[in-house]
């Protein structure tokens, strides 16, 4: 196998890796800015310099030439090389900043150069705390600068598009953002204009940066030049908790992180998963943070007289729910599951009412044909259509839902805005007694007689099966009125080192929504109805599922955690419009 010597240590390699990526793969480090593993390599930041040489071979014999100590003679490249663009060669010898004074010096000088015109506004810059330039400068940079002349001033707070704001002064011209629009989102909306110390990225005249993936450039910008217009100045990264989760705005199930502070989700960023979304996610998915904070169903509510919904106590809500069930024949009750709710929720929802003799839950996929783009945005608007299929809910089209609903005396809807998405009209819900188990206020909850607030994806651990049949899970990222982060072991808690700020204690009550996980609410209802039904955790539900369903055997939360989701042996069905 070919070999390479990095800082005196021997490594073997396969294929044709580039030096920088190989070094990073070994858990070693060389500072860099412009390189991104998913994009082309322009080698324009010049930060990843290393010293490289190849062994000298005798032309005739093909043997290595040796020096007087019996070591291989090395022919050094005349100048430092950018490791990102240097392919490995058999026998190559590499010195990074760890073993070469010259390289350490070159990297330091390059940083000094990059910083000539970069404003030193870390204290107010949004990138502070997660800025590669800040980190590399701290680790490898100079302590001062020889450039004491005035810095060049470029355009500031420019709205490149509806979601991205540019501060051109901070740009170090790595061209990652430009390459992103050329190679990944393929809208070609950005370019670098002007040159030397006055260049910066912008759009063509009269165009706006409205790429549906525009905010990915904010993530990959190695400085604070591109910032999220929405998130700017809202919080510091070190004040927030970061919890892995799943994008619930369409069927792809992009892997994401939820950034929370004081029980509010403040931003959403993609989490790398090469089987699903690589490093990227659509802008629409990032907007979902509002769903978790705003317009929540907070406390149960009940419609007493026509159009007059008012909050009520949990006890009263349970009592009312139970009375409605007791007063009606199971055959008069229709239950509607939801591709917007998790596997666990749909399962317990269906099981609970099955135990009461109600027939299987129906569900209707939420598909808008033509809205997908073949990349990360799908026609399927829901995160768990395949999850409903896996647990064998009754898949029907919109018309069928409408007819069963109009025949029923009681309709119970799980987390699905059937009116908002034009499956039903509010008049369809006028005659049956309608109960909604919901996370957000919607046209459907407004037309319901009883609304039970349940936890959303940001508040519970649960799994979702994406359009490609991959099951992935969420973790609770924010507390509700009744969860306790110190008792709920699924929850992440502040920074790992726990030297957080007060925010880590998440003190204010007002951001905690008064809602329950569906299974906990059903426990209480079961208690009242004398039904044998109890789950303490979604993990328990999932274990039951994986024991009873073939497709889910061998699948567990632990496996999903380890493998970032598990591909199930199911094929995507023809989507019904």
């Amino acid at each position: 196998m070919p070999e390479v010597f990095i800082d005196g240590k021997r490594y073997e390699y396969e294929g044709q890796p580039m030096l920088l990526q190989f070094i990073l793969d070994q858990g070693l480090e060389v500072p860099f800015f412009c390189y991104h593993p998913s994009m082309s390599i322009p080698a324009n930041c010049r930060q990843c310099m290393v010293k490289v040489g190849t062994p000298v071979k005798d032309r005739e014999t093909g043997e290595f030439e040796l020096d007087e100590n019996g070591d291989r003679k090395i022919r050094w490249f005349p100048k430092p090389q950018t490791s990102c663009s240097t392919p490995l060669q058999d026998g190559m010898v590499v010195h990074t900043q760890e073993t070469s004074e010259e390289i350490a010096r070159a990297q330091k000088d390059n940083l000094e150069f990059i910083l000539i015109n970069h404003p030193l506004d870390c204290p107010i810059c949004d990138q502070a705390g997660e800025c590669p330039l800040q980190i590399q400068t701290y680790k490898y940079g100079p302590e001062g600068s020889r450039f004491e002349v005035k810095k060049v001033h470029k355009p500031k707070h420019v709205d490149l598009g509806p979601r991205v704001t540019l501060d051109a002064e901070r740009c170090i011209n790595c061209t990652r953002c430009v390459r992103f629009t050329e190679e990944i989102s393929e809208t070609n909306q950005l370019t670098i204009v002007d040159r030397g110390d006055s260049n910066y990225p912008t759009t063509a005249p009269g165009e706006t940066f409205d790429d549906p993936y525009s905010m990915n450039t904010v993530d990959i910008c190695p400085v604070g030049a591109l910032t999220s217009t929405d998130f700017r100045f809202k919080a510091r990264v070190w004040e927030m908790n970061q919890t892995p989760s799943i994008d619930i705005t369409n069927g792809k199930g992009c892997n994401i992180d939820l950034w929370t502070r004081d029980n509010e989700v403040l931003r959403i960023t993609p989490r790398q998963n090469e089987d699903v979304n690589d490093y990227w996610m659509p802008d629409a998915g990032r907007d979902a943070y509002k769903l978790f904070n705003e317009n929540r169903v907070d406390r149960p509510s009940i419609t007493l007289d026509e159009n007059n919904q008012s909050n009520t106590s949990w006890n009263n809500a349970i009592e009312t729910f139970a009375e409605v069930i007791e007063a009606n024949d199971p055959s008069d009750i229709t239950i509607v599951g939801s591709p917007h709710a998790s596997v666990e929720e749909n399962y317990v929802f269906n099981k609970f009412f099955n135990l009461l003799g109600v027939s299987n839950a129906k569900f209707t996929p939420h598909v808008i044909p033509g809205s997908g783009d073949g990349f990360l945005i799908t026609d399927d608007q829901a995160p768990n259509t395949n999850g409903c299929r896996v647990i064998n809910l009754d898949e029907t089209d919109d018309g069928a839902i409408q007819s069963v609903v109009s025949d029923a005396k009681v309709v119970i809807i799980l987390s699905d805005d059937l009116i908002g998405r034009d499956v039903l009209t509010s008049s369809d819900l006028e005659s049956p007694y309608t109960i909604s188990l919901a996370t957000n206020i919607s046209d459907t909850t407004k037309a319901s007689d009883l609304v039970i607030p349940i936890t959303c994806v940001a508040e519970h651990a649960a799994s979702y099966v994406n359009v490609d049949g991959r099951i992935q899970r969420s973790y609770p990222a924010k507390e509700t009125k009744y969860t306790n982060r110190r008792l709920n072991l699924e929850m992440s808690e502040g920074r790992l080192d726990r030297f957080g700020t007060n925010f880590d204690n998440w003190v204010s009550e007002e951001n905690k929504v008064d809602c329950l996980p569906l299974w906990e609410f059903l426990n209480k209802l079961a208690d009242r109805l004398g039904l044998e039904f109890e789950y303490n955790h979604s993990r328990e539900i999932f274990t039951e599922l994986s024991n009873s369903l073939d497709v889910l055997s061998n699948v567990s939360y632990d496996r999903m955690d380890e493998e970032k989701g598990v591909q199930l042996p199911i094929k995507q069905k023809e989507v019904k419009a």
Binding site: Q189, L190, T191, P205
Partner: protein
């Protein structure tokens, strides 16, 4: 500005230029040049026209146009006089030439005369330091070893539509060296 367009002849020329390069993007420089010769500038609309003709992203053409100072991103005079005031020219009186031009034409560096005839720019080294001071006429001919009189004549000639000849100069040192080598 009226609707811009290329004539069939120009479009054929663009096709020909495209064929010379492996990708359409690579022909951007040449086609921008063609457009500038036609319109005298490559303002935003012209850049977009070029992007359409080449079927390449607008942003790409914009980036190229803004990279090179030789492409005029605004309307200029019929003759653009780039006066070098970089070190060699400065020492040999580049600023005197510049100020003389400014006085003669009644404009400041960077401006265009009211009749649209001349634009005067102050530029960095154009690589003719050996014949300083010098200026360049509209991305083209160099006028070297300038004196005020030479400038006056130049203006007069240009007004009458006479472009100066390209002055070729041999380097005395080089000549000596060549001679030595041939002996």
């Amino acid at each position: 500005m009226a609707e811009l367009s290329f004539t069939q002849e120009e479009l054929d020329e663009i096709e020909r230029l495209k064929d010379k390069f492996p990708t359409a993007k690579a022909a951007t420089l040449r086609v921008l040049w063609l457009a500038q010769n036609k319109y005298g500038h490559v303002k935003d609309e012209v850049q977009n026209l070029v992007a359409e003709a080449l079927d390449v992203p607008k942003a790409h053409v914009h980036g190229v146009a803004r990279f090179y100072t030789q492409y005029y991103k605004e309307e200029k005079g019929k003759f653009v006089l780039d006066v070098c005031t970089c070190l060699s020219c400065q020492l040999c009186g580049g600023y005197d030439i510049l100020h003389h031009l400014e006085d003669e034409l009644g404009i400041q560096a960077g401006e265009t005369t009211d009749d649209g005839m001349f634009t005067v720019n102050e530029v960095e080294c154009l690589g003719a330091c050996g014949y300083a001071p010098m200026l360049q006429v509209t991305n083209g001919v160099y006028v070297n070893n300038l004196t005020k009189e030479k400038v006056d004549t130049l203006l007069e000639n240009l007004k009458n539509g006479n472009m100066p000849e390209f002055e070729s100069k041999a380097m005395p040192e080089l000549e000596k060296r060549n001679q030595a080598a041939s002996e």
